[in-house]
Symmetry: C2
Subunit: 252 residues, 2 copies
């Protein structure tokens, strides 16, 4: 157990830098916040660097903290915890995590994100993929950084359940996947595409969801095996991309 009291401590300064993508990339570390996320990390045997809490937190989260090695524990005053957190009113427990090495083996059911830029959408879609029994999420170049606080919050532990690949060249990836006879499907806004309900449940599939404004890029639409759309029954022009992903993944 280590106790850090000073806001100007070098470790505090370095850890605070993890709020920025540049430093997360440089150090291969990221921060998760709150009891539920930390518990999921521990239960999933993810690579915890340290757990940061306060004197009060040691009591509140006693049973959770019992599960980790004491030398991974850092106790700080509220003022430091507040600095390390990105929430206005943080829970008194956060963890610094080491990024997992990305698995190069293909999943069975895969969700592929093409330039999805909203962090909340990225987080919700990975959580939904987990709930739908999808085991891998592929984030193409230009997606929101999965290790940022907003995404991690929306993930609710699903970052430790599904395999996540980041910064993937999707054109290359889809070509490789197609050679392995995995069905590739992209959602299109095109009403001449097939309705998602006609596809039926697949045992092995990659489903591509696109950018919030533009949808899936033309280059990828021409590559995939099938294009599907969700018929609009009312007057709305489109669905939020995370909702669309949920509907399609629970069907296919």
């Amino acid at each position: 157990m280590k106790r850090i009291e000073s806001l100007t401590n070098q470790w505090v300064k370095d850890t605070k830098k993890l709020h920025k993508k540049k430093y997360r990339d440089l150090t291969n570390k990221f921060i998760i916040e709150g009891e539920h996320s930390v518990q999921e990390a521990i239960e999933s045997k993810a690579d915890v660097d340290v757990i940061v809490t306060t004197d009060k937190g040691i009591e509140t989260y006693q049973s959770l903290l019992n599960e980790i090695n004491e030398d991974k524990l850092v106790i700080v005053p509220d003022a430091i915890l507040k600095q390390l957190s990105e929430l206005p009113t943080p829970q008194e427990i956060i963890a610094v995590m080491n990024k997992q090495e990305e698995s190069q083996s293909l999943g069975r059911k895969m969700l592929v994100l093409d330039t999805v830029q909203d962090p909340g959408n990225v987080g919700t879609m990975i959580r939904t993929a987990d709930a739908a029994g999808y085991d891998q999420v592929i984030l193409g170049e230009g997606c929101a950084d999965v290790y940022q606080s907003k995404v991690q919050r929306a993930l609710q532990g699903s970052q430790f359940h599904v395999s996540i690949l980041t910064n993937v060249n999707l054109v290359q990836w889809i070509n490789e996947v197609k050679e392995k006879n995995i069905v590739t499907i992209a959602t299109a806004l095109d009403e001449t595409a097939m309705s998602y309900e006609e596809i039926g449940e697949q045992s092995s599939v990659a489903i591509v969801m696109g950018n919030e404004g533009q949808g899936v890029s033309q280059e990828i639409l021409t590559l995939v095996d099938k294009k599907v759309y969700i018929p609009m029954k009312g007057k709305a022009e489109s669905l939020n991309v995370a909702i669309a992903a949920g509907i399609v993944m629970f069907e296919i």
Copy 2:
């Protein structure tokens, strides 16, 4: 056409107050922002009080502005538009709307929100209801205010497509609906409930979605005809409520 130049103008001050629920309730007015929302309002013949734009906006949105009566137009400098907007970089067109009187007639397919507190969730769920062909959304007491900026942004025009009732006593409402032989269904986190896939498409139905943390309240769960749940196929414990609503509404 009216031109207002001064930030201390009384109309500017009053309109800015519409950022607060208290004043929206008092005046029965609210603000929508951006070309798409304003266009949907005009096309749906919703009750536009005034449209506010800038000299530049008059050119940019010329064809849209041609569709409205000139005396409903207010031209302001950028500084005033920025004050009236709740966005960091506003589009140069906003509208002050008069709230529509809430329809007392029942919809055919209805989404019922029980204490859904996140504005983004409320907005996305109404938009999804519209897309799924639901024609009425009932917001119980304790839901996020539908007329606030965050909800209106997520709605993308669906506020003008579906009938919205607010601040409804849900216990009373569900009792009344049941007397009219409409099937009432609540989503439960209870795995002994029926799977949503067993229900099938309904021609007339009310589906209740619950609070982000607690789900549908016990009192309402005991009232409804059926309880359904969405089976989790992976390790996630639950779905975001807006995703769950999308999956259920596109199935039932």
